[in-house]
């Protein structure tokens, strides 16, 4: 039963209070996060990796697609990492500078992770919040759809899509986007169910605010905490996902590259005396994934203190 008009003013206050409290909640969270050394360090590492991805090319002495023809085929002996030749990370089997390629690989992999997370945040949150807020039959229908989609082996469908429509980065993003939002929708819905009975939502409803506006203005901002946590944890799984697609040769195409593609090439040549081909990209890959894990954990602990 919704409140009558007499209590609305009081509850509007409550709504404001909730917002004020919300702000201090964020401040609390920040201070808790800053106390988590692993998370802070990871955040710094992530910033450095991002800087590397954005500006690393400035320090490269070679273009990422430039082939040094004298190095092709004698990679194991002449492509060794060295500051003298300007190939800081050595060269790949085609005589291309591995440093420049790692820079690009990091860019692409981060992008894949972020795009996947972004789609999840936007589509998943709105979908989940809508389902949760409207409730009833609509909710049931929307969540059953999610259930159905979740039991489709998407990796298999994605492989099909990439094989059929050709490999392109767009297709990859589309495929990753298709998969990533499902869990987010469930989480957002669950959270919405608890929020929607809060006073400020009921007040907004009572004052005749349009449902779409309620969802956008009142529900979604209150979901942000959990959404951010989940999105942070989603990024590394998207990056791992992309590396799998690259292993099958369906990911980013030549002459472009991703960390997954570089690692898979390096792993293939692991017995061919070119350890740097696996080593450098793998280090970046591992660092990025760990950093996201730790930051995600830190954020969760900070935003949801009851856990610890």
């Amino acid at each position: 039963m919704y409140p009558n008009k007499a209590t609305v003013e009081v509850l509007e206050q409550a709504g404001h209070m909730a917002e004020v409290r919300g702000r201090s909640l964020w401040a609390d969270a920040r201070s808790r996060f800053l106390k988590n050394k692993a998370a802070v360090a990871s955040m710094i590492v992530l910033l450095l990796v991002a800087l590397f991805a954005l500006f690393g090319q400035v320090f490269a002495q070679w273009e990422r697609d430039f082939i040094d023809f004298s190095l092709i085929g004698s990679n194991a002996r002449q492509g060794v990492p060295s500051f003298e030749t300007g190939h800081y990370f050595g060269t790949d089997a085609s005589g291309r500078d591995l440093y420049a390629r790692t820079v690009q690989g990091t860019q692409i992999s981060l992008m894949v992770g972020l795009v996947g997370a972004m789609v999840a945040v936007i589509v998943g949150t709105l979908y989940g919040a809508t389902a949760g807020y409207i409730g009833g039959r609509t909710d049931n229908l929307m969540m059953r759809t999610v259930d159905i989609l979740m039991s489709i082996p998407f990796m298999f469908v994605l492989i099909l899509m990439l094989v059929i429509f050709g490999r392109s980065i767009f297709m990859l993003f589309l495929g990753i986007g298709l998969i990533s939002w499902l869990d987010m929708a469930r989480i957002a819905r669950g959270q919405t169910l608890t929020i929607k009975n809060k006073e400020f939502v009921e007040v907004a409803y009572a004052t005749g605010v349009h449902p779409a506006k309620i969802i956008l203005r009142h529900i979604v901002p209150n979901l942000l905490g959990i959404v951010i946590v989940y999105a942070t944890l989603l990024v590394p799984s998207m990056i791992i996902f992309e590396s799998f697609i690259s292993f099958l040769g369906l990911g980013v195409q030549e002459p472009n590259t991703s960390l997954g593609a570089l690692i898979s090439e390096g792993a293939a040549n692991v017995n061919n005396q070119v350890p740097w081909q696996l080593g450098f990209p793998l280090v970046f890959f591992v660092i990025i994934i760990f950093a996201f894990f730790f930051v995600g954990d830190g954020l969760r602990d900070a935003l949801d203190p009851k856990d610890r």
Binding site: F69, S94, G166, N271
Partner: protein
């Protein structure tokens, strides 16, 4: 005692039989011809990339599958280590004066693995079955290619398969009637599609007849185990007429999709043979000089331009095409990118093709600097390049690491020499073939392997009417020269001229001539390195004992 096993006339067979039996009984076995000490275990294990779609002789379509079929079945004729014709189930053949009727005489001691005699009727049945539309064989066209009487009509379903120009006169005589003379017809019956099949077995088991428990075969080996995508084991066929001269007891084919994993497992001693990954040959031949092998293989690698009217204008200009061809440094591609003993190609026909002498193409004699200079000039005169209109090329190739490496290298050469920007797109095999035959490309990768050892198997692709001329290159002189060559006493002059035209007009850019590059256990002997088509038979192989 030295016996030339190439001479398989029936009189010699008895001798060999005795020699073989002697070998089989002796304790410390030695090879009957070379006298090398043989290992106690005679097994051969090799790696392939993928499962073969079928090992039914009538349906087999790939190289790996044909290797299996050549062990399990035996056709009328075989090839020896040099690729020359030697008797198989047939001891020989006669040709009519008009070159239209071939009469094969079959040996009377050939047996199926269940003991039934192999008769001419088995061949007649197999050929009609392969040509029958109801069989829906992907190699049905081969029956058409053999120019059998009524072949085309049977294939298209207009005539009943029983009308096909092949008849078993009696158990040991097979008569084949052609619709037109075909000089290389005898070579064609070494191909797996022409091998006999056992009618009673097929009729009893239907599609399941190729299962190990059902299959009846007439080759040196029988199928003992077949796990799709994993392994296929064949072992000695006791009923095979020349069984006593077979040395290898079991042959195992493993499917290993990852070539680097296969190499690791080869080095661990699990395999006797595997392919060398692109670019690894120099290192491996240095570390394992006795095991890393590179021999010419009957295929040419080339890029083709789309010459259809709706294709980009730039490629209608022969100078632009030639400039792009000149700017490709083939030496770098064969020596550095592939590094497996391939040869740079300036002609379409593979240099090692029988009876073909590579003509002098001007480009072949230049240095790369001269070529680059000429390329820049040609492109500039055509109004493209740094001082003209910027030129961009879209290069399509089918997915493969080696193709990608070549494409990446070529795109860099074009960029560095001519300032041409290239976008690369790789496509899945099926998509790629469709795009190419629909003319949905600018420049596309092509590879062509000889069907038989003669230059026309390559050059016929340049005929305007050829179904494989995906460039849609039309040149009347070429058409005339090639049709003339069919009946010419010595067609070399015609081939020279066609190659010259290809070099001038550049509908295609020949890049390199294939080499087959693999690791082979140095105890395994008898490999037919000199067989241009790399047709090997397990019964010719043997494992020597370690000293």
């Amino acid at each position: 005692m030295t016996l030339t096993r190439k001479l398989m006339a029936s009189t010699a067979t008895a001798l060999i039989l005795t020699a073989g039996t002697a070998y089989a009984q002796s304790e410390t076995a030695t090879h009957p011809e070379t006298g090398e000490a043989l290992a106690a275990t005679q097994a051969f294990t090799y790696r392939v990339l993928d499962e073969s779609p079928s090992i039914d002789p009538g349906l087999v379509e790939d190289v790996d599958g044909s290797e299996i079929v050549r062990d399990l079945f035996e056709g009328l004729m075989n090839q020896d280590a040099l690729g020359q014709l030697v008797p198989g189930v047939a001891t020989g053949y006669e040709v009519s004066d008009d070159n239209l009727v071939y009469t094969f005489t079959l040996r009377d001691d050939a047996r199926w693995s269940n003991g039934d005699p192999v008769t001419a009727a088995d061949f007649e049945y197999a050929w009609k079955r392969a040509a029958d539309p109801a069989t829906a064989s992907p190699y049905q066209w081969y029956m058409e290619l053999m120019s059998l009487e009524n072949g085309s009509d049977v294939v298209s379903g207009d005539t009943d398969p029983s009308e096909l120009g092949v008849t078993a006169v009696d158990d040991t005589t097979l008569e084949v009637r052609l619709s037109e003379p075909l000089p290389y017809f005898p070579q064609m019956v070494t191909h797996a599609t022409t091998f006999p099949v056992h009618q009673a077995t097929i009729e009893e088991f239907g599609d399941d007849w190729t299962r190990p428990e059902n299959m009846v075969s007439n080759g040196a080996y029988v199928l003992t185990e077949w796990v799709s995508q994993e392994r296929l084991v064949r072992s000695r066929n006791d009923q095979y007429w020349d069984n006593d001269n077979t040395i290898i007891d079991t042959v195992t084919r493993l499917v290993i999709p990852d070539e680097n994993v296969a190499l690791t497992r080869y080095l661990a001693g699990e395999l006797d043979m595997t392919d060398v990954p692109a670019g690894q040959f120099p290192r491996l031949s240095e570390e394992y000089p006795d095991q890393a092998v590179s021999v010419p293989e009957a295929c040419s690698y080339y890029f083709m331009f789309n010459l259809r009217d709706d294709a980009p204008e730039a490629f209608q200009n022969a100078d632009v095409r030639q400039a792009l061809s000149l700017a490709i440094n083939r030496d770098v591609i064969v020596e550095n990118v592939l590094a497996g003993g391939q040869e740079p190609a300036y002609t379409f026909t593979h240099w090692a093709t029988a009876g073909f002498e590579t003509p002098d193409i001007p480009m072949a004699g230049m240095t790369q600097d001269e070529r680059n200079a000429m390329a820049q000039e040609l492109l500039g005169n055509a109004g493209y390049g740094p001082d003209g209109e910027p030129l961009t090329v879209n290069l399509v190739y089918n997915t493969s690491e080696a193709h990608a490496a070549v494409a990446v290298a070529v795109s860099q050469m074009w960029k560095q020499t001519l300032g041409v920007e290239t976008s690369l797109s790789n496509q899945e095999w099926q998509t790629f073939l469709e795009a190419r035959s629909n003319g949905d490309f600018e420049v596309a990768r092509g590879g062509w392997c000889a069907d038989y050892n003669e230059a026309s198997t390559f050059l016929d692709l340049m005929q305007s009417g050829s179904g494989y001329n995906d460039s849609k290159f039309v040149n009347e002189e070429v058409d005339e020269l090639l049709s003339e060559a069919k009946t010419a006493e010595n067609p070399q002059a015609n081939y020279d001229r066609v190659e010259e035209i290809i070099a001038e007009e550049t509908p295609i850019i020949p890049i390199y001539h294939y080499a087959s590059v693999f690791m082979l256990n140095d105890d395994l002997k008898g490999w037919p390195y000199e067989n241009f088509e790399q047709n090997w038979y397990s019964r010719e192989l043997y494992v020597t004992a370690d000293e």
